[in-house]
Amino acid sequence: MPEKKEDIRIGVFLCHCGSNIAGYLNMEELAEFSEKLPHVTFVQRNLYTCSEGGINEIKKGIKEQNLNRVVVASCTPRTHEPLFRSSCGEAGLNPYLFEMVNIRDQCSWVHMKEQEDGTNKAKDLVRMGVAKAALLEPQESIMSEVQVRALVIGGGIAGMTSALALANRGYEGGLVEREEALGGLLNNLNKLGPTMIEADELVEEKTRSVTGNSNITVFTNARVTEVQGFIGKYKVDIETESGVKKIDIGVIIVATGGRPFVPEGLYNYDGKRVVTQLEMEKLLKAGLDPAIKNVVMIQCVGSRNEERPYCSRICCQTAVKNAMLIRELNPDAKVSILYRDMQMYGVENEEMFRDSKAKGVRYINYDPANPPQVEPDKVRVYHALLGRDMDLPADLVVLSTPLVSQEDAEVISRLLRVPVDENGFFLEGHVKLKPLDFATDGIFLCGSAHFPANIREAVAQGLGAASRASIPLSKGSVVVEPIISVLADEDACRGCGLCVALCPYGALEIQKTEKGRKVHVIDVACKGCGVCAATCYQHALSINSFTDQQIEAQLEAFLD
């Protein structure tokens, strides 16, 4: 039963914030003004509404004055809305029958020298808040169970680290690897810088831990072919050699890695005399041909150019490491690295770089406008410090090529409804603050699937993604604020799907109903951003606590 309009009883609490507000606005006038607003039955001024005393006043007001809407005019909702909301809840009022008005940050603080104008602005703000409050509807928090199981896609070092970390905390999960063995790119590597651990040993040790762990189910030669659902409730199809396996999980970690770019047509690449760093790893693993006396490495082959503008981060480290290993195996071999910027960031890399110079690796800077020329037995390069061309004899030329995104990154992106960036790497939720999350809840990211990473970084990110993924797993449920999108007018929805395409969180889907194609809001995935409601031509979607009627009422109150 909707309450009658005359039953609406709004309490307005005006906070002085010490002197932050009361020092600049005429609070007495504001209180008198507020008392006269429609439906307002109680007005109180507090020194600090957020203090224990202030909170008790709100609770007392709800109980003794029978308030059924509360407006607090004070500071910013960023810091204080949750407190006031929950206080209303504690007094028995639905927490979503609360409205906050900021008369400090954008009012008293910016109008310190204009008391009259500032007070008038505060009146407008309070009047708007009260107009909206009268139309507020009670809302209930949305709770959804979480299946306490994870899926890690990709069995390289990052994925294995994630799966093991989750298993170490008692969480079961699946690990899907497209190849027949775990290990990813590590399987093709020789030794790992800067400590020169054998890649094979690391793969073996990690594989043993993963396969021997009863919490982890490993799927090799397998691919994810279908993903349905949302945080806490995913249904995933995994295609394996023995047929399609269907699993139910709560969270997903994407650890699909990257692949080395093959420099077809660049610098006379032939895979024999002109090879990539990855092929160099194989040559080193097999034991280097002692006849190789002159090696020239060229950096940034296929990267930092127009087609692939990014720096692949890890190729300089690889080149330095391999140059040192060549010098170790063939001590009289000459190794030169032709580079643009030596990207030996951090403590360990720079140390290895310095070390390599002491061990006789030579570095020559080249200008991309005048790149080196690879000829049958030599490399010609313009030496900027000498100001002339130099011919470097070369039995072997090694090209440092970037890691590029996986061929199936687009497929995974589509299945999970998560974005990739312009280089095809997966796009994290926030470049600075959410490096291991996607914008969509329940899906996480680590390793070279995000951006080229070395072993240390891939391990750290693997652990970190597991930590992020464990939050919903450990809670066993997700609770979201009910300020989300709802299909308010089902008849109006034509099922056009425009909103589905625009939703940044994958929270909308089109369902077939008796009335035809209609949009359905996955409420736990929705963040209430309002893009869908703003886009819908039919005004079929609406955002709880920000309905068209509520906002219109605010605007009308402002124009009054």
């Binding site: 170490n168 720096c311 960031y345 403590v347 600075k432 959410k434 490096p435 291991l436 930590s467």
Partner: protein, 452 residues
């Protein structure tokens, strides 16, 4: 910060230090000193009324000494917790003088001049070190003349100048110009006072001072004591106003800094100081140059570096965009020396390795991209916790266990481990949380076993 402050599972102990750690992974007993701040944490609402009324002005460490704060303060405006603190070294009341204005001002009655340090004991399963880093002090590099040349600043000082809430409100006012402006303000105050004094006399004798003074100098009013006083006051006034006019004329020519130089690897990749690369400085120089250009479109910047290490996601693209759209020139070379030219303009002397020429170039301001130095006190903290440091004094880890210290149960993240940027620190913080949670989980398992 806000999330930390509000999270029900986090007990925030700001302004506190670890005194002692006993026990082992899964079972640590940690003794913490909660330092007295003379403000009751549970009463202070962070409103800041006290700081407004506090009469004692102190140089503001948060603004790198470029601005001022009061003796009762919060470290910076958005700081969490917003609880204020009394700086006991400068507070008048705490130094035996009569004051207590803050206590009278505070309507929440949070001021407590008798508050003392409190000792807390915590039982925890795991410990995470996130102690951060210090900015390298470049004054030990003689050839860059930091502190000798006013307009040579560090990147973090420049960051404050760029900040809308910083001491210049985001205008790139040069430190030398700001010093002159401060002097003008001081002299104007004095001039106002001396003007007041002579105005009274002018009124009394009904004559302008300058006219009187000419006569006085010519020998009139020889034995007139009153007029002698007037003459003395007038000369004192001139002693203030003449240099004031001079400075004002000088200040007319002041504009914001438009020609900027950024010098990379200041204290990093340098055998005299820190041989390692600090990783993030190339990017903050590029960022500062881009923002400066946004503030003032005529700004041009030169970034001097051996390598420009734009190695993160989107970083190389950002660097190129800076060059194309924000008037940034990347100069390959290590700067040899900075001297001072006319108008307090720093002059950068360097070898352009592409052209093989030694060059001199004049700038309005020079920004030093300083190294990431291990934080002060880390050796003591490491000793208290019983963890090893590497040779530079970062917490020692290994590449396969990147957040594990040498002591089980104690983990590390961020620049306490090694130099790194924001996204890497955020990712590593999650990694360290994961490792600590694993320890807590194992402890719970053992407890369950023991019960069964």
């Amino acid at each position: 910060m806000l999330d930390v402050g509000r999270h029900p599972n986090i007990e925030l102990l700001a302004y506190s230090e670890v005194e002692k750690v006993e026990g082992e992974a899964g079972n640590f007993k940690v003794t913490i000193r909660r330092k007295g701040r003379y403000v009751e944490e549970d009463k202070c609402t962070g409103c800041g009324a006290c700081a407004e009324k506090c009469p004692t002005v102190v140089s503001d460490a948060f603004n790198e000494g470029l601005g001022e704060r009061r003796a009762i303060y919060s470290y910076f405006a958005q700081g969490i917790p917003s609880t204020h603190t009394i700086d006991a070294d400068h507070c008048r009341q705490l130094n035996g003088k009569k004051c207590g204005i803050c206590a009278k001002t505070c309507q929440a009655e949070a001021i407590n001049f008798d508050q003392e340090d409190r000792i807390l004991e915590l039982d925890v399963a795991g410990i995470i070190i996130a102690a951060g880093y210090d900015v390298f002090d470049p004054s030990v590099i003689p050839e860059y003349r930091y502190r000798e040349i006013a307009n040579v600043v560090t990147a973090i000082e420049f960051e404050r100048l760029l900040s809308a809430s910083g001491p210049t409100g985001g205008h790139m006012d040069r430190p030398s110009d700001r010093a002159v402006e401060a002097e003008i303000a001081g002299l104007e105050k004095k001039a106002k006072k001396s003007q007041k004094a002579i105005s009274k006399l002018e009124e009394k004798f009904n004559e302008p001072s300058a006219q009187f003074y000419k006569k006085y100098q010519a020998g009139e009013y020889k034995d007139d004591e009153d007029r002698k006083k007037w003459a003395d006051k007038y000369t004192a006034h001139l002693a203030v106003t003449e240099p004031l006019e001079e400075l004002k004329k000088q200040a007319e020519g002041f504009t914001v800094a438009k020609r900027l130089a950024f010098i990379q690897c200041v204290g990093s990749r340098d055998f005299r100081f820190y041989p390692f690369c600090s990783g993030y400085c190339c990017m903050h120089s590029i960022k500062e140059a881009i923002i400066s250009h946004e503030h003032e479109p005529e700004t041009t910047s030169s970034i001097f570096g051996m390598d420009i290490r734009a190695v993160g996601k989107g970083f190389e693209e950002y660097k190129i965009r800076g060059g194309n759209n924000s008037n940034i020139t990347y100069v390959r070379g290590r700067v040899a020396e900075i001297t001072e030219g006319p108008d307090n303009n720093p002059v950068v002397i360097y070898e352009d390795t592409r052209e093989r020429k030694v060059k001199r170039q004049e700038f309005d301001m020079v920004v030093l991209a300083t190294a990431c130095a291990p934080i002060k006190g880390i050796a003591e903290l490491a000793k208290t916790l019983g963890v090893e440091l590497d040779k530079y004094n970062f917490i020692k880890t290994s590449s396969l266990s990147p957040v594990d210290s040498t002591t089980p149960g104690i983990f590390v993240c961020g620049c306490a481990e090694s130099p790194m940027d924001v996204p890497e620190s955020v990712a590593q913080a999650s990694s360290a949380a994961e490792r600590a949670a694993e320890i807590a989980f194992q402890m719970d398992l053992e407890k369950e076993k023991a019960v069964a």
